[in-house]
Each structure stands twice: as structure tokens, then as C-alpha cells.
Amino acid sequence: MRSEFVESVVELAERDERVLLLTGDLGYTVLEPFAQRFPDRFFNVGVAEQNMVGLSTGLAEAGFVPFVYSIATFASMRAYEFVRNGPLLHELPVRIVAVGGGLDYGYNGVTHYALEDIALMRAQPGMTVVAPADAAQARTALEETAGLPTPVYFRLGKGETPVAGLEGRFGLGRAHSVTEGDDVAIVALGTMAAPALEAAELLEARGIGATVVVVSSVSPPPLDDLAEVLERVGLVVTVEAHYRNGGLGSLVAELVADRRLSCRLVRKAVEVVPRGLIGSPDYLYETLGLSAPQLAESVVVELEPSKR
């Protein structure tokens, strides 16, 4: 997804000379297409994420659209107050490209897992927060947000497999259902659409119909699209590569409370600080209870007659 996204940024930069790309010394083998095409509009600012966002604030005030690139942990947390007092406070079109959202840097350990970035970014009014599910959707999301005069946080994951049924659709404030079923809604954040879809297949084999809803526009939140689905089902399960508090599960809990929806809500998320936990994303999902079979099993348990 990263490479496709950067290709799209190059295309955008071809037609919009305001576009710049800054990196905090990351993006080896990913950013070269931009750096080679636009050497005068590419800046490796060094390992200095705070300064990168501060620079972008000064650049954007003068009319540029700076994309700043780093790993999601550093892009969100190290520079957080600069983001708040810079592009957010001044309402400037800075684009934060945060790669490795969730557990994608699985072999790098907990310092490289971004498990609270969505909570942090969606807490800020005026921040558009986008977590694409696959490369095609990332491209569309870039196009859909290109004209925004305010900042955008892109949480990019691996998302190597195209999400069946999504076909690159993206809309600000919209969610997309990619399967239909009346027993349960599985609401997935970004790249967790893949295990959610796999869980839906496992459930179908057991006679349980699941609507899988992909949430990529976190802010603005897809409240109406979600409510429309949640009004039809008795059970909703959210799944995200993120801590339990403040992310997609919290967003859906707020919606359920605000609109007095009657469905039950189960939030599947990272429950513990994954200290010393290393492995592939799939291994980590399984260890943390977020794999497709575990998702499916959760649904089965929740739908048992005694729990209805």
C-alpha cells in the first residue's frame, strides 16, 4: 500500500505544484519515485519528526501542501503537539503519511507498533483521519482528500490483498459494506477488513450471516452508514489493530449510545501493551485474539442462545 500511495502522490504532484514531500529519514525503496521525479520538492529532514511537522506548518502557511512521511508511532506521537499547534490550529493542508499502522512492523517490537494513533488523531477536531483497507482504496482516499484545506492523517498498513467487494471505493464520512448478512455486523478498521472478511466466510460455513463493514474514514466518522447497518442487527463486533480505548470500537460505542441503538457491541482490539511480543502481523493477531478464526469464534459465542 505504501508504494502505491507514493505513486499516487507523485501523480498528484504532477498536476499540483504545491505538493512537497518531507520524510524523517524513512521510506527507503518507497520514496525514490517522488525524490527522483521532484528532487527540488523532496526533503529528507533527518530523524526529527517534530521539526518536520513544524517546517510543514511554515510551508503550508505560504501555500504549499506538504506530505510528511514517517512510521505511524513517530508521525503521530513524537510530533503530536506540533501537529496540534501547527496544521490543526492554523487549519493548514499538511498531510501526515503514517506507515505501519497497527502491528505491521511486527518484527520490530512494541516501539514500532502504532496502537493509539487513531485515538490521538480522532481526538482532534478538524483532523481528517483515514485508514485505507487496501492499496486501491488508499489511492481513492488520496484523491478524495487532495483538495481539503485542512490536515489529513493517513494511517497506512500493509493491505497487500485487495479487499473483495470494496473495489477502491472511499468516501469521507462513508463506510462500505462488503458482505451482507443479518446475524451480525463486523465493523473493521482499515486493513483489518481482510481478517473480518475471512471471519465472515467461516461464519457463513456455520450458517451465520455477517455484514462486514469497512471503516476507512475515521474522521469524519461514517455515522449514518454505520447506524443504518447497526439498526438491522442484534450484534456488532468491531475489530481493529489498535488499543481498545479511543479507536474504532470507541467510535461505534459512542454511536450506539448517541443514537440509542439496541444492538450489543463487542470490541475486539489490543487489550494489553505487547511488551516483548514479536512476530508477523498474522502471528500477533492470533496471539492477541484478533485472527479471523478467533473473530468468528467470538461471534459464535456471542450469538449463543443464552447470550441473546
Partner: protein, 278 residues
């Protein structure tokens, strides 16, 4: 709270037209508005009165406050906002009525400056951020082929912030010669002297070693300040302005308590008398 003992505007008859007159205007308005609002940060504001006066009367090229090619100024030590408001007032960019709203309910003039005020380019208040923004603004000017310059006023204690040095390195690496940093080197910070809290010395040598063109200057000498702000090299310039905290009010000079303390009626009267006698 408006204090009955303070007339609405003691000094309104002043119309500064030179940098020394503007400096006195800044000092008097700082004292008057700080008393009326019963707020502190007075010493920090007084220490930069001359720096701001030179910038606003002699250096900054600002045809209109929304001219894209205007020079940018960032008060990174945002807690001295009152001095900035007084400078904007003294140069006709803020009305007396606006200035008199300082730190009142519903005013946009708070203890830290916000860009919603015409004439203020960037909101500040969190130390260590302004120089990064200024470096970005300077880079933008270069990319756009503009001759505009960027001036960033930081406090000496602000150099405690690691992020500031990120910007210092970036500006030097990219030879941002259209960027001028000014350090208000008054030697004091909120809870003590900088030498006791976190020693900054040798401050000039540190900036020099990071690749900046360093000028040490008397922060109350207008001619020297004007020369220091006129950078002509190929590196970013830093003017380390040696200033006296609380400059102009004898009992505030060099006294830590005036970082936060508001004035009593008697202290206000003495300050007014001393400033009128200057």
C-alpha cells in the same frame, strides 16, 4: 477585572514614530494592560520591548498584514504576547479598544498570541516550536523565489527544548540565510536563573558550532539591534540579544518573581513614574 484606580489609558497621548518611542510605548502599555488585567509575564515582556520596537519600526517589511510576500515574524516566546500587542498597537495594527481587551472574557488577545489576530502570523505559546515553523516559512520563501525574510524571537530558556535544535540543524544544513533567530538572553526563566536551572553557556559558541552566523548584541541598543537583524551572509543568522529582564522598571530588573507576578497598586504607580521619567 478592571481596577478603579487605573485610568483607562494613561499613555494614549503617545504616538510612537521612532523605535525608541515605540519601545517606550511598548513598556508603558505593558505596564498599563498588565495592571488592568492583573496578570504577570511582565518581566519577559519588558525585556523584549527594544527588540520588538526595532523590528516593527525599522526592520519588518509588512506592506499589509495579508501580503503573501510580507516578512514573517514569530514570537516563539509567546508568553510575552503583551509586548507584541503593544507593538502592533503602537504601529497602528491594533486599536486602543482592542488592546484594552487584553485578557478579558471574549477577547482574542490572550496571554499567548493567536494568528486570528490580524498582524500575528502564527499562534505560539508552547516553547520550542516557533523556530521550526520559521524555518519552514523561510524554506517556503526560497522555493517561491521571494525575498521575504523570517524573524523568530525565542527566549534563552526556550533553548532548553530539544526540538529547537532540530530546527537549528535544519536551517544551517539548508543555509536558510533568510531566517533570523533572536534569542532574548535575559538569563532568567520561570523558576530561576538559566545558569542554575539548565546552563546554556556558552550559548553563542553552541549556535556557532551548529553552523549559524552568530551576532551577540546589546538587546537594548537600537542601532546595534538593527545591524544585527540585517543578515547578509549565506547562513541563518542568530542575534543573541543580551537583555535585562524587566528592563525599565527598577524593582523588576533581574527579579525572578516578575516572570509570573502581577503588580500591586503601589508597584504599578512606581512603574508608571519610572517609565514617565525615562
Amino acid at each position: 477585572m478592571r481596577l478603579a484606580s487605573v485610568p483607562p489609558s494613561v499613555f494614549d497621548s503617545l504616538t510612537p514614530v521612532t523605535s525608541p518611542a515605540l519601545a517606550e510605548h511598548i513598556r508603558r502599555q505593558t505596564i498599563e494592560q498588565a495592571k488592568r488585567a492583573n496578570v504577570g509575564h511582565i518581566g519577559s515582556a519588558l525585556s523584549i520591548a527594544d527588540v520588538l520596537a526595532v523590528l516593527y519600526e525599522r526592520v519588518l517589511r509588512v506592506p499589509t498584514v495579508d501580503d503573501p510576500d510580507r516578512d514573517r515574524f514569530i514570537l516563539s516566546k509567546g508568553h510575552a504576547a503583551l509586548a507584541l500587542y503593544a507593538a502592533l498597537h503602537g504601529t497602528g495594527r491594533l486599536t486602543t479598544e482592542q488592546l484594552a481587551s487584553y485578557c478579558t472574557n471574549g477577547s482574542v488577545l490572550g496571554a499567548h498570541p493567536e494568528h486570528r489576530v490580524a498582524g500575528i502570523d502564527f499562534s505560539t505559546g508552547s516553547l520550542g516550536q516557533g523556530l521550526s515553523v520559521g524555518a519552514g516559512a523561510a524554506l517556503a520563501a526560497r522555493l517561491q523565489g521571494s525575498s521575504r525574510r523570517v524573524f523568530v524571537l525565542v527566549s534563552d530558556a526556550e533553548c532548553n527544548e530539544g526540538a529547537l535544535w532540530e530546527a537549528v540543524m535544519f536551517a544551517a544544513h539548508h543555509r536558510l540565510s533568510n531566517l533570523v533567530a533572536i534569542v532574548d538572553d535575559n538569563g532568567q526563566q520561570a523558576l530561576g536563573h538559566t545558569r542554575d536551572v539548565l546552563d546554556l553557556t556558552p550559548l553563542a559558541a553552541r549556535w556557532t558550532s551548529f553552523g549559524w552566523d552568530v551576532v551577540e548584541v546589546d538587546g537594548h541598543d537600537h542601532e546595534a539591534l538593527a545591524r544585527a537583524f540585517d543578515a547578509d551572509g549565506d547562513a541563518p543568522r542568530v542575534a543573541i540579544a543580551k537583555t535585562t529582564f524587566g528592563k525599565g522598571v527598577s524593582y523588576m530588573e533581574g527579579e525572578i518573581k516578575w516572570h509570573y507576578w502581577p503588580m500591586s497598586d503601589a508597584e504599578y504607580s512606581q512603574a508608571v513614574a519610572e517609565l514617565e521619567a525615562r
